[in-house]
Each structure stands twice: as C-alpha cells, then as structure tokens.
C-alpha cells in the first residue's frame, strides 16, 4: 500500500449564498486520510460535518458552492465532469446514509436496490450470477438470503442499515463515508451494526470517515479523530493521544462532558451555544464559550491549523509559541 494519502482535502470551502448572507458551512478545512485509516469527524449539530460528507461525494446542491481541492488518490474530485463523478460514487467513494429508516426506496425489492448500483457502474451479469453476488453481499453484512426478495418495510431498522452497508461496499470502494450510520438505531443494534462496519472496513482494508457526535462511540471505532466546530477544523490527532491529552479547549470540554462510570454528580456540559455560521466573524468561532480565551486576540484572529507535534494538529492561539 502506498504512503500517499487516499484523501487529501485542501482549503475546502462550502458556502451557501442565501438572502441573510453567506453561510460558511465548511470554511477552509485541510485534512488528509491515509489508506486503511478510520477517521472520526466529530462536532455538534450544525458544525458542518454532514456538509463535509456531502461535499466529499460532491453532492451539495445549489445554492451551495464548493471551493478548494479534494484529492481522491491524486485526482481532484472537484475538477471531474458530472458523469465522471457519478462513476466515482459507490465505486471509489461510497456512503452509508444517516437516516437508516428511510434510505431505501420503499417500492423496490432489496435485490434490485443492490443490483442497480452495480449495473450503473458497468457490471453486467446473468440473473443467476447477480443473485449469487447479492446473496454474498447480504451474507457479509449478516443478513439471511431471503432478504433479497423483500421490500424495505418488511425489515427492521438495523436490517435496513445493514442493507445500506451492503450497498456501500458492493463495488469495493477505497473510501467509506459513514454519516452517523447508527444514529437512528437503538443502542444494542447500534453496537452490532457498528461492529459489522468496523469488521468490514478492517477485512476489506478500506479507509473510513465516520461522522458523529458521540465521543464514546468514536473512542471505540476509529484510529484518528478530527474535531469540527462550526465550519472549522479545531483539532486532529490519533484517538489515544486525543483522549490522553486533548489540546484544544473545545476538545477538552467535549471529553469532559462524557459520563464516567461510577462517578456521581452533575454532567459537565459546555455552556453557551455554537455561533451562527451566517457571516461569521474573523476570530475563533469558539471564543465566546472558551474558558481559556485570550482577551483581545481570539475574537479578532482565527488561529492557523498547525501541526504542533507529529500527527497532531490544532487551531488555537494557546499553542502559538509551541514548536
């Protein structure tokens, strides 16, 4: 496996031009994902993590605009023609959707919904071969063969999400983008589905971007964590390091807010609400909630996103002098 990152995002901007002003949903994000790595992208609601997922699939719709560069294996996805991008979807970069309950077409059999993705990427095969291949895919995600002939409404939420996983890996993509794949499921099913996804990513040697807001789930599932705060990347590092020593005050607050087994008392929330992404100010978006805010500096200037130790990036004025 080459050392070249499978995904390299440079200064990615997704702006929505609306009447009230410019919504900077993703504002200058830099990120690299190495082959075979599972990366978690965490943030609160509205922090732009789902927009990131859509941007990676190049599926943001007008009035949104994408700028910057997004390399998938050295190819800038933003320069591809629409038809070329369509072919990249599923075959090279696939998505496991967020709304498990409603992500399958209610009027098509599961078989046909798995098959049409293959067909539209040039896979031609006989009926019998198609059935065989689809049965194999269903087996991989631990679903019985009979699911093939069923309709989505005959399946439970967990089963539906497994079908979506089967579809996502059906073309052996390089990258899997899982946008809160378990948020619509109860905790028991959540764990089972997550285990299936992790097992598949490991055995098929895929890279994955797992989007979510659950730091606990991330700690169990991913190698690296990227923390987003409205529109911006705050911190990036290996999961262990991140939990051992969170650098950014926002990451610290996030980890502090996790419940600890056996500990009683009040949960540590993060006071305040995230800022509006409509016409954001020039400073750090977290300044007004930050316990370690540097008066006069944070409000005016956004700190650069820098590598302050090997494989460890942070955007905070507190670490300006370090390194």
């Amino acid at each position: 496996m080459s050392d070249r990152p499978v995904i390299e995002i440079k200064d990615l901007k997704v702006y929505f031009y609306v009447k009230a002003g410019t919504v900077k949903a993703v504002d200058g994000v830099n990120l690299t994902l190495d082959p075979g790595v599972k990366m978690g992208l965490v943030g609160e609601s509205g922090s732009g993590k789902s927009t990131m997922a859509l941007a990676l699939m190049r599926m943001v719709r007008p009035p949104a605009t994408i700028e910057g560069q997004m390399f998938l294996d050295g190819v800038d996805l933003l320069t591809l023609k629409e038809e070329e991008m369509r072919r990249v979807r599923l075959s090279e970069i696939a998505m496991i959707p967020q709304g498990a309950m409603n992500s399958l077409n209610p009027v098509m059999r599961i078989r046909d919904q798995i098959l049409d993705g293959l067909q539209d990427h040039g896979v031609r095969m006989s009926r019998a071969d198609a059935d065989k291949r689809i049965t194999e895919l269903l087996e991989i995600v631990e679903l019985p063969k009979k699911v093939l002939r069923m309709y989505p409404h005959e399946l439970s939420g967990g089963m539906k999400q497994r079908v979506c996983v089967a579809i996502a890996i059906s073309m052996r993509p390089k990258v899997l983008i899982a946008d809160e794949p378990t948020s619509a499921l109860d905790v028991v099913i959540q764990r089972q589905v997550m285990e299936t996804i992790t097992r598949l990513v490991n055995t098929l040697k895929l890279s994955m971007i797992l989007i979510g807001h659950d730091m606990g789930l991330m700690a169990q599932s991913v190698d690296r964590i990227a923390v987003m705060y409205p529109g911006k990347l705050m911190e990036l590092g290996d999961t262990r390091d991140m939990f051992a020593e969170p650098l950014h005050p926002y990451t610290q607050a996030l980890i502090n807010s996790l419940p600890v087994l056996g500990k009683r008392g009040v949960f540590n929330g993060i006071p305040g609400i995230p800022p509006s992404v409509i016409n954001p100010g020039p400073g750090c978006p977290f300044y007004d909630r930050c316990p370690k805010v540097i008066e006069g500096l944070c409000v005016k200037k956004m700190p650069p996103f820098r590598e302050i130790k090997p494989r460890r990036f942070v955007a905070c004025h507190l670490y300006e002098g370090v390194n």
Binding site: M59, R89, P97, M101, P106, D116
Partner: protein, 338 residues
Amino acid sequence: MRANYVIRRVFFLIMVIWTAATINFILPRLTGRDPIKEQLTQQIASAGRKAEDAEQMWRKYNELFGLDKPLWQQYVTYISHVARLDFGYSINSYPRTVMDIIISRGRLTLPFVSVAIIIAFVGGILLGALLGWNKSPKWLSTIVVPPLMVLSSVPQFLVALVLIYFVAFRWKLFPLGDPYPKTMVEDWSSLKFIGQYAYHAVLPILSIVLVELSGWALGMRAMMVTVEGEDYAVFAEAKGLKNGRIFYRYLMRNALLPSLTGLALRLGFIITGASVTETFFNYAGIGSTLGAAISNFDYFLLYGIVIIMVMSIAFATFIMDMIYPLLDPRIAYRGQRG
C-alpha cells in the same frame, strides 16, 4: 393473504353500491313529491286535455311502475332491478328504457372523455415530474409554470369558449360543435364515422386536457419536490446511479402514488364529468342527459344515471385497490397489521 384482501374489497364494492342504491330509493320518497302526478299535470296543462281522466291515468301509471305496492315490496323489486341494471322506463320518452338511453348517450361521451382524461394524466404527470426534478433546466419552470397556474385556475367553460371562438369560429380548423356531422348517421362500425367523431372530438378533448393537465402537473411537481427531500433520493445519488434511473425508479415512481388515487376518482366521473364540455360543444352525451333529466323531473332516468355514476366510481376505486398493492408493496399488508 392476497385472496383475503380481494374478498374484502369485493365485499366493500357491493356494500357501497347497495348503500347508494338504497339511499337513491329512500331520498326521493322523502321529498313527498309525486313525479307521475307532476308529469301528468304538466302534460294536461300544456296539451289542454281534460282533467277528468287524470286520476285514472295516474292510477294506471302507478300500477305500471309498481308504485301502488307496499314500500318494502317496491324496495325488493327495485334492488333486484338494479342488480340487473334494469332501471325501468324513462318518464319523458316513455317507450325507451333508461338503460337504452344511457347506453346510446354514453357511447358518445365515453370515448372522448376517456381519451381526454388519459392524455391529461400522462402528459400532466410527465410534465410535472420534469418541472419538479432538480436536474431539469431552470428555464423549463420559468416558461411553463405561469401558463399552468393560469390554466389551472380558469374555469373549464372559459377554455371551451375561447377554443370555440378562435379555433373553430375564427380559424375554422375544427367544427363548432356536435359529436359528428348532422348529415351522418351514428355507425360505430364505419371508419368514416369514427374519423369524423375523432375530428369533432379534438376541441372538446383539448378543453378538458388543458384544464386537467395543469392540475396534474402542479400536483406532481409538488410531490416530486417532497420525494427529492427523502433520504432514499439522497442515497440513490450517493449510489452513483444514472440520472434516468433516479428520475423514473426512485423519484417519479414514488411521487406518482398519490396522483393514482386521484386518477381513480377522476375515472369514476368519466361518464358524468363532461357535462360542461357537452353543453358547450352540443353533445347529446350522458352529461347533458343528466342535466335534462333533472330539469324534466325524469326521475327514473335520473336514478339510472346516478346509480351508474356510483357504480363507475365504486368500480374505479375497486380496480385501483386491486392495482395499488402492485405499485406500493406497503399497502397489501396494512390490513393485516391493523
């Protein structure tokens, strides 16, 4: 499971028709009016006949129509007649039976109205789907939507009048009215007659299509926008499917379902729903016959048409109930789960 569903629907169908027939039987009897007496009085007054034998004639007619029998017996006879589609004689054109009138008039109405409904539906659905699709060019909506809005809010008779005045009267492209030339005899085995019928039907069909197509198109457009927001539409795009497949199999297929119910109801009114068009284009069809039956107090003809109307709506709904599970797999099971 399937058989159970069908049986339930058939039972439903029979109940609906029976209930409607019963109401049809009771309602006029509650008004306290006597159609035969009224008819006779009118005829006597207009013909200047002597009133002495009126009482005798009234009794004779009541006997003839079975109106002298007790109510329950009348009801039983009535229901058994309805079951055989026998609605008796028309009061106004006495020797002809109601069914005979309905068939001879319906023959003129049914072909052009059904063609109009189908053209309007298919055209409207396709147009609406294109208008609602986010991959369609913007100019399509800019050009097409305003005229659709206007057409959908203009009453049908106005469209008919405009067509008659410009297309038929000024430009003389199509005949002014009548289902076929007055010089011709109705003969459905002759191609020449059918050709003339089609030629005469162009404007009536157009007047229906213009109005109804805009309704279907605007409804479909709204449904498309809703379906496009569904998770499965987003996932379909993430699957890298071709645009055509997403459009037909994912978006249109789902957006179509509510319109199909609307189509079933519309088809139910196929016989009577064209009375405006028939009046303006001077068709002696079922629609205008219904109007005439009302103003002439031709009760038996009126009953007949109303029952046929109810039956066609019930049948259209029944057929849609049969087809719907094939189109939407979620339906068939709903009954089982309660």
